[in-house]
C-alpha cells in the first residue's frame, strides 16, 4: 500500500502581530515588529526589558471561568486550535473522534503557573494553592485541553524539544497520518513565559538581545548588529489531514506537508554542532522524504533567531543541504522567538508564502553579516512562485527539525 499524502486544511494562531492568522500574515507582509518594551514593574530589575507580547490577550476571547483553570500557554493553544478547527470546516463534518489526534507541544510549559502558585504557597500556605495547579503546569496540558475541546480520541501527544517543539509536533502529526492511526491531526506549538524568571535564565546564558532602547530593532537575524533573540509568546496550530479524506469532503487545501526530517546532534546540551552537522542531516532528510528536487525548494523560512552563532551556522547548513538558490526569510525579526511555538507559527508563514506566492520580509537586516551568502527578502516582502518551501527549527538539547511543504 502506498504511503498516504498529507495536506494542510486549517490554520490558527494568536501572536505578537495579531489575534488570528489573517492579521498576523498581513502584519508580516507589511514588515511590522511585534516587539515592545516591558513596562511591568518586575521588568525594571532585569537586564532584558523587551519582548514580543501577544497582540490580543486570551482573556478577551475565552470565558472568564474557563481561564481560571488554564495556564496562559494552554489558553492560547485553545484559541489557535479553535481557529484552525473552524478554518478547516471540520466541526460538522461527521469526523469519527477515533480518527482525530492532537499533537501540540510547548518548549517550557506552565512555568508561570508554577511560579505564581509558589508565591501563594510562600505567602498563604498550602491550603491556598489552587487545585488547578497540576493540570495547569503539566507539559501535556495544552495538548490535553485541545483534545478535550475537539473531542479527539485517537491520541493526544505533547512533544517537547525546546525551540524545535512546534515543528516536531507537526512532523509527528505527519507520521501519525502516514501510519494510519488517524485521518486528521491538530498539530502545533504554544508558549507563554514572559515572566522574570525565564527571562533572567535566558539572559544569564547571554542568549537574549539587550537592545532595550530600540525594541523594534532588537530582533535582527543575520545583521552584523544582532546580539541575541527576543522572547515572544503565542501559539500556532495547523490541521493536517489525509489528502484523500480532505478531497472526499471537498476541503480547501492550503498546501501539502510533503516531508519531515528529524535529527539530534549528540554534541552539546545548548551549543549547536560547530559545523551544523545535525541541521544538515535534518534538512537533507526532509527533502528526501518529500521526494522533491532541491531546486524546487525556492524558499526557506529559517530558524534564524538573531543570535551571533546560530544564524550563520544555519546558512552554512542550507548551502550544503539545499544549495544557493532559495530565497530566505526570518520572520522572527518581526515576531520575536516564540520558542516552542516558533516552528508552528513559521510553518504557517511558510504555507501562506506558498499559497500567496510571496515571501515575508526580514526586517532590521540593515548591515548583513559577511557570511550571509544566500539571498534574503530584506526589508520588504518579495513575490515569488514557490513550488516547495522549507521550514527549519532547532532547539536546546541538539534537536533539529526540518519540514517541507509543497504547492497543491
Amino acid at each position: 500500500m502506498s504511503r498516504p499524502d498529507v495536506v494542510v486544511t486549517g490554520l490558527g494562531a494568536t501572536t505578537p502581530l495579531g489575534g488570528d492568522v489573517a492579521s498576523t500574515w498581513d502584519a508580516m507582509l507589511a514588515g511590522r515588529s511585534g516587539v515592545s518594551a516591558l513596562t511591568q514593574e518586575w521588568a525594571a530589575q532585569l537586564p532584558v526589558r523587551i519582548a514580543a507580547q501577544l497582540a490580543v490577550d486570551p482573556s478577551t476571547v475565552l470565558d472568564r471561568v474557563k481561564l481560571r483553570r488554564l495556564d496562559r500557554s494552554e489558553a492560547i493553544a485553545l484559541v489557535a486550535a479553535q481557529q484552525a478547527w473552524a478554518d478547516a470546516g471540520l466541526a460538522d463534518s461527521g469526523l469519527d473522534p477515533e480518527r482525530l489526534a492532537v499533537s501540540v507541544g510547548s518548549g517550557i510549559g506552565g512555568a508561570t503557573t508554577l511560579l505564581a502558585q509558589d508565591d501563594i504557597l510562600e505567602a498563604s500556605g498550602p491550603r491556598r494553592v489552587s487545585p488547578h495547579t497540576v493540570p495547569m503546569l503539566m507539559p501535556n496540558g495544552p495538548a490535553a485541553w485541545v483534545g478535550l475541546e475537539l473531542g479527539a480520541k485517537a491520541g493526544v501527544h505533547s512533544v517537547a524539544s525546546a525551540c524545535a517543539t512546534g515543528a516536531e509536533a507537526i512532523a509527528l502529526g505527519l507520521d501519525i497520518i502516514r501510519s494510519g492511526r488517524a485521518d486528521v491531526v491538530v498539530a502545533g506549538g504554544t508558549e507563554a513565559v514572559i515572566h522574570p524568571l525565564p527571562i533572567a535564565g535566558f539572559a544569564s546564558m547571554r542568549a537574549m538581545s539587550t537592545r532595550n532602547d530600540e525594541p523594534e530593532k532588537a530582533s535582527r537575524p543575520w545583521d552584523k548588529g544582532r546580539d541575541g533573540f527576543v522572547l515572544g509568546e503565542g501559539a500556532g496550530v495547523v490541521v493536517l489531514e489525509r489528502a484523500e479524506h480532505a478531497a472526499a469532503r471537498g476541503a480547501r487545501v492550503y498546501a501539502r506537508l510533503a516531508g519531515a526530517g528529524i535529527t539530534s546532534d549528540a554534541y552539546d546540551i545548548v551549543q549547536p554542532h560547530a559545523e551544523g552537522e545535525g541541521a544538515i542531516r535534518a534538512i537533507a532528510k526532509a527533502v528526501a522524504d518529500a521526494d522533491v528536487a532541491k531546486t524546487d525548494i525556492r524558499h526557506v523560512n529559517a530558524h534564524a533567531t538573531s543570535t551571533p552563532v546560530g544564524d550563520m551556522l544555519e546558512i552554512g547548513a542550507l548551502h550544503k543541504a539545499v544549495g544557493d538558490h532559495p530565497l530566505l526569510t526570518a520572520t522572527k525579526s518581526m515576531t520575536g522567538h516564540l520558542l516552542g511555538a516558533a516552528g508552528a507559527l513559521e510553518s504557517i508563514a511558510t504555507i501562506l508564502a506558498i499559497r500567496d506566492g510571496v515571501v515575508p520580509p526580514t526586517i532590521n537586516l540593515d548591515d548583513p553579516d559577511e557570511g550571509l551568502s544566500l539571498e534574503v527578502a530584506a526589508h520588504k516582502a518579495r513575490h515569488l512562485e514557490i513550488p516547495a518551501a522549507l521550514n527549519n527549527a532547532f532547539g536546546f538539547g541538539g534537536h533539529n527539525v526540518a519540514l517541507v511543504f509543497t504547492r497543491v
Binding site: D63, S130, P131, H132
Partner: protein, 79 residues
C-alpha cells in the same frame, strides 16, 4: 448571619469560581448534579467559603455537603 445571607454569600463564590448563575443557587440544589460544580472547583468553593465566613471546613466534612442547604447549615452552626 441568616441562612439567606449565607446562601447569597455562597452564590457569589459559586459565580466567581465556577460561573454559576446566582439565580440558580438555592438550598435544595446539589453542587454536582444541579449546579455542575466539579470536584476541583468544589475545593476552591470550600477554601473561599472558609475565608468569607471565617469557619473551618475539614476535608472529611466536605463529602457530606451535597447541597447548598447542607453547606449553609454547616456554616451557620460554626459561625
Amino acid at each position: 448571619m441568616t441562612r439567606d445571607e449565607i446562601t447569597a454569600g455562597l452564590a457569589e463564590i459559586l459565580e466567581e469560581v465556577a460561573g454559576v448563575n446566582p439565580d440558580d443557587v438555592a438550598e435544595g440544589k446539589s453542587f454536582t448534579d444541579d449546579l455542575d460544580v466539579d470536584s476541583l472547583s468544589m475545593v476552591e468553593v470550600v477554601v473561599a467559603a472558609e475565608e468569607k465566613f471565617g469557619v473551618k471546613i475539614p476535608d472529611n466534612e466536605v463529602q457530606n455537603l451535597k447541597t447548598v442547604g447542607d453547606a449553609v447549615s454547616y456554616i451557620a452552626a460554626q459561625s
